[in-house]
Amino acid sequence: MAEKLTFGKEIDNLLYAQHGNPIKSCIQCGTCAGSCPSVEFMDHTPREIIGLIDAGYKEEVLSSNTFWTCASCYNCTVRCPAGIEIANLMYALKRYTIWKDQYGEDLIGPKFSESFVKMIMRTGRSFEPILAPSYIFKYGAKDLIQEAQMASTLVLKGRMPLLPKKIKRLDNFRQMVRRIIPIGGDS
């Protein structure tokens, strides 16, 4: 009978391309937590998340805001004495919760990523003004006004074009993407 895949192993498998050491090799030293510039905004430190994964606390890990609070600065990765690809582990957890549609309601990150992907499918390039509606409703009234003022100043200074650029071979581009992921496409 096939061995049952533990949560820790499942997450290790998501880190295939990076060739880092498995989560099991963590010595719980806390260098990652001490090196993280956004740790005070996380409900669990990176060290705790690794411990929770290893101990199989799947729900606790998936409902955490830790990986969506990771700015991908890789400070933990370059300092980890056990050679674990911690920042890429955070990426893996983001993908895992997006695939399983299992992330905290109040998080902007997953919604932002989804609209980003759709936008790239439409034009091949990224364009900030199209992205805005996906997250801007999350802001309070005061922030919205400040955001609008900032945007109009940027337009006046000639830093914000009003139309997105499209790549020329967009059909080929979309076919290329479909060869990787058969769903999606022309949305």
Binding site: Y91, Y135, Q146, R159
Partner: protein, 297 residues
């Protein structure tokens, strides 16, 4: 004249167009050609890697494959684009199975990637390929008395690529000295600016920007120099947000390294996109002007 395949990236078409302008102007002055990659697409930034890893590598690989067709080294002025391109190239070289999979997708656009191109950040081209002496020889207006804080941010130096110093890199300081300015010593030079958290977690990102600005100010910084459009936007465009949030009065100019270099090479500020800032860069120009006895730049 040496030619590179230049990948501007999406930010350099909008918020950071002055980085694009100053990159092209300085390259011309330093006798290299930055030939824009034909029909390039978005590198996936960080957001695409949140959704699907393989797809993100494919997006990056398309740009690399176009550069490869011309046999040119790939150069990016954005640290995020640079990191994505560098590591995609590396993984494709090391993993033939991954390369096969991605080449199957690239066939849809009649492209093929062999991993033969080298990926460089623009500052590496300037410091390593042109070289500090090459730059010094072209300086016509040394930035005497200007204290420049080199802000590396994250992705030029992290993740580690080889055996380079990820804690205390020096190439930016060397460039600043080569143009006659004084490099500010401060602890935060490789501390993260918050990146895309400025959109997805505003509180965390503003806290990170605040700490950077505070450290730069404490160390008598005239101007923070950046090598990445996202770092520049977070430190510059959001400085006002930080002031509101923390009750501070920061007014620290933030400029691209190519703008500072451009001034030293004698290029007129307008041609370097200077004047489009949310935090005025005039104080920096004024230091130079008074050093040159009031002669306008």
């Amino acid at each position: 004249m040496r030619t590179y395949a230049y990948y501007p990236g999406c930010s350099l078409e909008s918020l950071s167009m002055s980085y694009h302008q100053s990159a092209l102007e300085t390259a011309k002055e330093l006798d290299i050609e930055l030939r824009e990659i034909e029909d390039w697409n978005c590198c996936g930034a960080t957001a695409y890697f949140h959704a699907d890893e393989l797809l993100a590598y494919t997006l990056v690989a398309r740009n690399l494959a176009i550069a490869e067709k011309d046999g040119l080294d790939f150069v990016a002025p954005c640290s995020g684009c640079y990191k994505n391109a560098y590591f995609t190239n590396k993984y494709l070289r090391e993993d033939p199975e991954l390369a096969d999979h991605i080449n199957f997708a690239l066939e849809a656009d009649n492209l093929h990637i062999g991993g033969t191109t080298n990926v460089l950040h623009l500052i590496e081209v300037y410091v390593n390929d042109i070289g500090l002496d090459g730059i010094k020889n072209k300086v016509t207006r040394p930035l005497k008395d200007v204290r420049v804080a080199p802000y590396y941010g994250c992705q030029l130096v992290r993740p580690r690529k080889d055996h380079e110093d990820t804690e205390n890199p020096q190439l930016f300081e060397e460039l600043i000295s080569a143009i006659g300015a004084e490099a500010v010593k401060y602890n935060s030079k490789t501390r993260c600016c918050g990146g895309s958290l400025i959109i997805t977690n505003r509180d965390a990102a503003l806290d990170m920007v605040y700490k950077l600005l505070l450290d730069a100010e404490k160390n008598d910084t005239d101007v923070i120099a950046t090598i990445c459009p996202l770092c520049n936007v977070n430190l510059e465009v959001y400085q006002k947000h930080v002031n509101r949030e923390f009750g501070t009065h920061f007014s620290i100019p933030v400029m691209y390294f190519t703008q500072i270099l451009g001034i030293a090479l004698g290029i007129a500020p307008g041609r370097l996109g200077i004047g489009k800032e949310m935090v005025s860069a005039a104080p920096v120009l004024n230091i130079l002007q008074s050093a040159e006895s009031g002669k306008p730049l």
